[in-house]
Amino acid sequence: MSHDTQEVSSNDAHARGPLLFLLGSGLVWLVISGVLALIASVQLHTPGFLASCAWFTYGHMQALQETAFVYGWLANAGLALGLWVLTRLGGEALRAGNWVTVGALFWNLGVTLALVGIMAGDATGHSLLQLPRYVQPLLLIAYGAIAVAGVLAWSGRRNETSYASQWYVFAALFLFPWLFSVAQVALFVMPMRGVMQAVTAGWFAQGVFTLWLAPLALAAAYYVVPKVTGRVLPAYQSASLAFWVLIVVGAWTGGRHLIGGPVPAWIPSLAIVSCSLLVFHYFVVWMNLKGALGQGGAVMKLTSFGLLAYVIGGCADALTSIRGFAVITQFTYFTQAQQQLALYGGVSMLFFGALYFAVPRLTGKAWASAALIGGHATTAIFGVLMLVISLGVAGWTQGQALLKPAVTFPEIAAATRPWLLLASAAYTVLLLGNLMLVVNFLQTLAAKSTVPTATLFQATSDIKETA
C-alpha cells in the first residue's frame, strides 16, 4: 500500500476534535496517576509520609494511582487510538463524533468522582475494580456512548475483509461493557457470597487486561508497525488464531492469584493451564510484530519496547503461575512488578508509540519538539526498566524472606527498602518523561499549521534520524 497518498486523510479531520479530547484527557490522568504512584511508592519506604490523614493511607493511594492509570490514562488513550484505527481502516469518516465527545466528558467526570470517592474511603478493595460502586453505572453508560462510534465504524467499513487491528478494537469495545456490567451485578448489585467475590473479581481483573487493554494496545501495534516499516507482517495468517486464543482463554486466567487460597484447587489449576495456553498467543504476536525491532524513530522504539514487555510479561505470568514460583512471588512486590510490566511496559508503551504516530495525522501538524519526543521515549523506557527491575528484586527478596519464619516484618522492610527507594526514583523519572509528553502535546495543539501538507511528515522522518 502506498502510504504517501494515505498519510493525510480528510477522514482524520472529522475525528480530530473528539479523539484529541480523549487523548488530551488521558494525558492529564497520566500525569495525575504519576504523582499518586510516586506518593504511594514513597509511603512504602517512608511509612510516615502523609500518614496523618485518613485520605492519604497507602491503601487509598495505591487504589487511586491504579484507577487513574487504568480508567483515566489507558481507557481514554486506548479508546482514542482504537477509534482512530477503526476509522482509518474502515475508510470512512468518524461517525457519531458528538457521542464520543459527550461520552468522554461523562467518562472523565466519572473517573474524577471515583478518585474523590476512593479518597473518602469508598474503594471496593478489588484489584483493577477499585471504582466506588456509585460511579460504575455512569462509567458504563459513558463507555457505551463512546463505543457507538466504534460500532458504526466497524459496520460501515468499506472493505468486507477486515484486519487484525479491527478485530482487536471491536473485541475490546464490546467485551469491556460485558465484563464490567456482569462484574457490577455479581459483586455489588447481587453480591456473591464469601470467596466467590474474590473469584469474580479475579475474573474481571484478568479480563480487563486480556480482553480490553491488551486488545486495544495490540490493535494500535498491528496498525502502526506495517505502516512504518512498509512491509507485510510476517506469519500474518496466524494472527487470527492468536486473536481467538487471547479472547477465548484470556478471562480463564483469573484464578492465578488464588493459588493456595481458600478456593477449590481446580480454580487456580485452570488458571495455570490457561496462562500456559496464552503463551501461544504471545508467540504469534511476537512473530507478527518483531519487524518493529531495530527500526529508528520514537514510534518504533516505543512500540518495540512495548512489544517486548508484552511478550515477556505474558511469559512471566505463565511462569509465576506455576506453584513452585508462586509460593515465592505471591503476595509480594513481584506481582506489582508484573502488573507494571504488563500495564506500563506493555500496554502504555504501545499506546505511546501509536500516539506519536497518530497525533500529527490527527492535528495536521508536526510534533512541536523532536527533542521532547526523544526525551520522553528515553525516560519512559529507562523508567519502566528501572521500575520493573527494582520492584522485581524487592519482591523476590521479600518472597524469600517470607518463607523464613525467623525473619520479622521490620527486617523484611529494611531489606527491601533500597529497592523501594529505587522504585520511587523510577516513578520520578516516568513522571518527568510524561510531563515532557504533555508539554509537547499542548505545544503541538497550540501551534499554527504553517507547514504545507506535502512536507508535513518530514519532521517525523527527522525524528527518526535524531531520536
Binding site: G59, F174, G194, Q197, W203, P262, P264, T335
Partner: protein, 214 residues
C-alpha cells in the same frame, strides 16, 4: 473474518463461557452452609458481632488489605503455619458470613486471618490500639483514628497507656475514636481456630504429598 455476525457471536460466546466457569465455582461455593458440630453443639463459623462487622467496613475503607492478607495457605506451601498465622489452611467456609471478605493481595505486613486466635502471640485490645497509634516497622501510625482530649478530672478509661515519645502532653490523653474501637473489635473477632472436615484431610494429604516428593 468476513462474517460480522459470526465474529460477534464468537466474541460473545467466548466471554459467556468464561463467566460460566465463574458460575460453576459459584454453584460449588455459593451455597456453603455453616458446619454443625455435634460434639460442640453449635455451628461454625460464628457470625460476626455487629461491632466487628462495622469494623470490617473501617478495615475496607482504609485499604488495610493493600498490605495484609486474610488467607492462610496450606501447610507446606509457604511458611504460613510456621509463622503462626494459623494451624490450618483457610477454606471457603471461613468467609461465608463476611459481607466483604478481605482476602488481600500483598503481605507487606503479617496475615490477619487468625489474628485473635494465634497462640501464644495474639495481640490484645491494648496492644492493637498502641500498634495502630504508633505504627511499627513498615506500618504507618494511624494517629487519625485517635483523639487528643484535654483531661479534666479523671483520665478516660479508654485512654491509651503511652510512654516515651508517643505519650501526649501533660494534661492530655489519647482516646480511640469509634472507628478505632470498631476496627480493633473486628481484628479481635478474627479467628479460625475451628477445624472443618474439608480443612483437615486436605492438610494431611498435602503434607503427605510434600513428604513423598522429598
Amino acid at each position: 473474518m468476513k462474517n460480522g455476525t459470526l465474529f460477534f457471536l464468537g466474541l460473545f460466546t467466548s466471554l459467556t463461557v468464561s463467566f460460566a466457569v465463574v458460575l460453576l465455582a459459584n454453584h460449588q461455593l455459593g451455597a456453603l452452609t455453616p458446619y454443625f458440630d455435634d460434639g460442640e453443639g453449635k455451628a461454625f463459623p460464628d457470625r460476626m458481632p455487629g461491632v466487628a462487622a462495622r469494623g470490617q467496613l473501617v478495615y475496607r475503607d482504609l485499604g488495610c488489605a493493600s498490605c495484609h492478607t486474610q488467607q492462610v495457605r496450606r501447610p507446606g506451601f509457604g511458611a504460613d503455619q510456621t509463622r503462626g498465622w494459623g494451624e490450618r489452611q483457610s477454606v471457603a467456609r471461613d468467609y461465608i458470613f463476611q459481607p466483604f471478605p478481605q482476602l488481600g493481595t500483598m503481605r507487606i505486613g503479617p496475615d490477619l486471618t487468625n489474628s485473635a486466635g494465634r497462640k501464644p502471640s495474639a495481640l490484645d485490645a491494648e496492644d492493637l490500639m498502641n500498634l495502630l497509634y504508633t505504627g511499627q516497622g513498615a506500618m504507618p501510625a494511624h494517629a487519625f483514628l485517635f483523639d487528643q482530649v484535654k483531661v479534666t478530672g479523671e483520665v478516660p478509661a479508654k485512654a491509651l497507656k503511652l510512654t516515651g515519645s508517643a505519650a501526649p502532653a501533660d494534661g492530655y490523653a489519647v482516646v480511640p475514636s469509634e472507628q478505632a474501637q470498631t476496627l480493633v473489635a473486628y481484628l479481635l473477632s478474627l479467628n479460625t481456630v475451628y477445624d472443618y472436615p474439608e480443612s483437615r484431610p486436605v492438610v494431611q494429604a498435602a503434607a503427605h504429598a510434600e513428604g513423598a516428593h522429598k
